[in-house]
Symmetry: C2
Subunit: 274 residues, 2 copies
């Protein structure tokens, strides 16, 4: 890759620090494999294209990830890609510059009894921003404010966020699904939110199993009438919701099916039969 | 300050990098003085309160700034304050943690003939976000997109940004003022934008000189009918606008008065009389 100057060290002029000028991926390495590598790389590539950040080629990045996590059989990997270093007053650096950082965090599989979430509807609203909607970018202050709100509520596992028009978007660190009247619903991410890899896997799985999936703008009232609902991301997998504030839910059959299909701790266990 | 744990080093878990979870100030040190120190510190303090980031006391910070810029008589100083290090998945660090970084950049006074700006109306829109509006926070991706747009246009000094409702907000790195029908107008920063220190100085100065200042939501059409207009920030001071796309403007008497009053290169010259 002669044309791309990749910075791999933290620098005081790092644009990720100064402007949040970049993207990230959070991936699971499980028993030596990164099961969703292709999906993560494709999302990163698409995000870099939208933000016009040059991206290293896939093999280079996969080698870096393998090298920097080689001491861990199972771990949570965070990849940060930015527009590199430099430029006071938002002046752009040369177009062939980027930074790529790979970090790792301990992975602990959730115990079955900790899987279901107690969540709260957040007062914090996500701004409507078509330019950045869907991207897993580094500008996460709105989510930090939601995390502060959740911390002040105490003992909540997750929060559900609406946009400034009052429509459901997602959780603080996961996407949202709810089932009612024979169809699964998930909020559109056209105006705000992050296009989750696990969300895509779930939509794809449900459609292949002839369960209709609707993607749109939904009010919180619809969610409160759901028969079952869950949140998901690519590290924790599927997490049924057991309560939204004072309203309780049971883990329904579709949520359970998806838990069995997607949860890494379930997947990594020896099969029960055969 | 026994209760506050201040990090002064770059760390891989720095929340400024991971989430843009912090604020910054850009200040001018001129001939050994920081003329607007109090205003910058007060804005930083207010921003930290809104984001619930603990801030070092003023003397500690001023000593750090003095120490780290002691080799420069005139320089541009950037102070970055964040919520410190740590927390995967947006988990908050201990409440008494923060990072404070002080960086410096070369200051060059603008030549008179380079002062007036050739600007463009940007297509990039700023999202409406009351939670973050006004703050000089580290989530600057919208402005990076605007800077990319400007770069693609070529040779523009600045861009004017509207919010997603189509109302004027500010420039990419400065605030905006325009004069028409006997009053000065500047966009409100209640929905988007940065509450500039120089903007406050200008509003204060104009009101003390009995020039009415209106702060509100204005359409770009009003700006195009202005008799004079300028942009400002605390490093460059007042910069008259000489053109917005194909429309030309002259540097009017009020803009000139403000240039004389506020521009550091003018201020630092020996007085013309007495």
């Amino acid at each position: 890759m002669p044309d791309l100057a990749i910075n791999e060290e933290l620098d005081w002029q790092e644009r990720g620090l100064h402007y949040g000028d970049g993207l990230f991926e959070t991936l699971l390495k499980l028993n030596g494999e990164i099961p969703l590598w292709q999906d993560h790389f494709q999302r990163l590539k698409k995000g870099c294209e939208r933000l016009r950040i040059p991206l290293a080629d896939e093999n280079w990045l996969l080698r870096k990830v393998s090298r920097e996590t080689s001491d861990q059989n199972s771990t949570v990997i965070k990849i940060i890609v930015t527009r590199g270093c430099g430029g006071r007053g938002l002046r752009l650096p040369a177009q062939n510059h980027s930074s790529i950082f790979v970090l790792k965090y301990a992975y602990t599989a959730l115990a079955d009894e900790d899987l279901a979430l107690e969540v709260s509807m957040c007062q914090t609203r996500l701004p409507i921003n078509r330019n950045l909607a869907g991207l897993k970018h580094l500008n996460r202050l709105d989510y930090v404010l939601a995390a502060i709100e959740l911390e002040n509520l105490g003992k909540k596992d997750e929060g559900i966020l609406c946009d400034t028009d009052g429509f459901l978007v997602e959780g603080v660190i996961s996407n949202l699904f709810f089932y009612r009247d024979g169809a699964m619903y998930t909020p559109t991410l056209e105006f705000a939110g992050v296009e989750g890899i696990m969300r895509e896997c779930v939509i794809d799985y449900l459609r292949r199993h002839d369960i209709p999936v609707q993607v749109g703008r939904y009010s919180p009232e619809l969610l409160l009438q759901a028969a079952e609902c869950f949140m998901c991301n690519s590290v924790s997998g599927i997490r049924p919701i057991k309560a939204i504030d004072r309203q309780n839910y049971v883990t329904g059959p579709i949520s359970q099916m998806l838990v069995n299909e997607f949860n890494p701790d379930v997947r990594s266990r020896p099969a029960a039969t055969t």
